[in-house]
Amino acid sequence: MMANEPGEPPAGGRNSRPIGGHAVCVPADIDTDLVIAGRYLRTKDRSLWAAHVFEDLDPGLAPRLKGAVIVAGKNFGCGSSREQAAIAIREAGAIAVIAPSFARIFFRNAINIGLPLIEADLSCSDGSPVKFSLDEGWVESGGKRQAIRPLSPRMREILAAGGLVEYWRSHA
């Protein structure tokens, strides 16, 4: 990652400071049907998606997402292109998702709505603190710090803007 010139704001914009939350663990290969079921999609009511997020995986999960960092197994967000999956996670209050890999449409969708994704392989313990810095490129859990795979420059710009809508509102 490029060093900043003195006096310049950090390149990561609002994602520059380390942030953290409690871990909520989910398994590998979570598809977007499991994140938000098709039966809840016919609306623009974001609070409905937040209330039913992960319902078919674990109905008790949604209330635990406020301030959480979701720590998932590989291939998180596979399947349907439904952007409501990323929106539901963000609206339920989760601040980021960490996984060894993400399905590519979910990856784009999450960054496009301003939900940070972190590619890293963490062992997860429910409720334990997880900290990360997108700008410095690390994630820390269980007293161990590891490097994360950096986002592409474009994705960093979009995330720094707060999402693709905000990005284009300022670029168009």
Binding site: A103, R104, L164
Partner: protein
């Protein structure tokens, strides 16, 4: 020496590029959020450089007033713009794009994961979400990371009752649901050249079930002839030697009828191992297996007989429905005791009609069997058209007879 994806995107694997999108399409599901995002971006223009399409296929006709109101807003927007619009019953977006619209060498983006289907034409076709689609409406462009490719070398011809769907399930089973994440698939070899366009569409369609960004065939004489019948003159694409990130060899003659068992597309078993499992519903259709050749094959197998379980057959487009009416295929299907739905996605996504009850099992020709997808507590087994026909007649999973 480049892969087909590298040639079309004009850059090497791993590079990030901004590219003009030749055609972009969305449906009633993703279109609602795309419209909202486009308005929030400023929404003062639609890209004239890109052909834009909006096709209603997910909940058709609308199932309640909430859906109807969302569709009304989207329909009015489409009609007030220069977007190409297809209303309820026109057909599934991917199918409509395959009926003489998608062309070789084009960059095509759909707001649906199964937009990979159009790679069958030698186009770079991939899926995005609603906000990416909104940005394409606004600018006509999007960014790509040029993918590495997995070369799938096909040899031989299908034998017995095996069909393209079985081959598709086979390669997803080998690669796994994330076996090609961030990568593209390329189907090559004499086994690929011997496939019809309908068969290629099935193979490209399932590529996202292995996580792939695209699933391409080189345009050849089959592609050229198909598109000539629809009024287009195109040239074949000559494959050149290239480096694949991974290579698979599959002999079509070794493929047998397969089923993907709940709740993963990559948990694939031979039909013979599951024979006798009772089912409650059969569904034939979708962007995977709702084409005329599929329905004609199904009709040929059930004609003059009666299905033993409720069976829903949905043509993928109005054109296909009309063809089945003219040829008599539709009458054969109805007289065998099946029912017909409006051209569209039907029960595949569990929004409306054909939803499963708790504990029910559906044998489906679709492409996804995720938990609760077709209804809470329902289970989905994915299979070919021939397996669907044999199983519908017996009321249990049944090995299809050789064609």
């Amino acid at each position: 020496m480049s892969t087909l994806s590298e040639r079309i995107l004009g850059a090497s694997a791993g590079e990030y590029v901004d590219r003009k999108v030749d055609r972009a399409y969305a449906h009633d599901g993703t279109g609602v959020l795309a419209l909202e995002a486009w308005k929030n971006m400023g929404g003062n223009r639609l890209a004239k450089e890109t052909e834009l399409y909006l096709q209603f296929d997910h909940i058709v006709p609308a199932n309640n007033s909430t859906t109807a109101t969302l569709q009304h807003e989207l329909r009015e927007f489409a009609k007030s713009s220069f977007m190409h619009f297809s209303d309820i019953g026109g057909g599934i977006c991917h199918q409509l794009m395959s009926e003489g619209i998608a062309l070789p060498n084009e960059i095509i983006v759909g707001a649906d994961s199964h937009s990979v289907t159009l790679g069958a034409f030698g186009a770079f076709a991939t899926g995005v979400g609603a906000t990416d689609m909104a940005a394409i409406w606004l600018t006509g462009e999007t960014w790509f990371r040029v993918p590495e490719s997995v070369g799938i070398h096909l040899t031989g011809k299908f034998t017995g009752a095996a069909e393209a769907k079985d081959l598709a399930l086979q390669y997803v089973g080998i690669l796994g649901t994330d076996g090609a994440t961030y990568q593209a698939l390329e189907f090559v070899g004499e086994g690929a050249s011997g496939l019809t366009m309908d068969e290629r569409l099935v193979l490209s369609n399932l590529s996202v079930e292995a996580g792939a960004k695209a699933g391409l065939f080189y345009a050849d004489e089959v592609t050229v002839a198909y598109l000539r019948n629809r009024g287009h003159r195109v040239s074949p694409q000559e494959p050149e030697p290239c480096t694949y990130a991974r290579e698979l060899d599959i002999d079509l003659s070794a493929i047998e009828p397969l089923v993907a068992v709940p709740h993963r597309v990559d948990t694939v078993k031979p039909v013979r191992e599951l024979a006798g499992l009772p089912i409650d519903q059969v569904f034939v259709g979708t962007c995977t297996n709702g084409r005329y050749s599929d329905l004609a094959r199904f009709a040929g197998l059930v004609k003059g007989k009666k299905v033993a379980v409720r069976t829903i057959v949905i043509p993928a487009s109005a054109e296909i429905l009309a063809q089945t009416v003219k040829s008599g295929v539709l009458a054969d299907i109805i007289e065998a005791g099946c029912t017909i739905g409006t051209p569209g996605c039907g029960p595949c996504i569990g929004y409306h009609m054909g939803v499963l009850g708790e504990g029910e099992i559906c044998l489906s020709t679709a492409n996804r069997n995720f938990r609760n997808r077709m209804g809470v507590g329902g289970e989905i087994y994915l299979a070919s058209v021939a397996t669907a026909a044999a199983s519908a007649l017996e009321g249990e999973i049944t090995m299809p007879e050789a064609a």
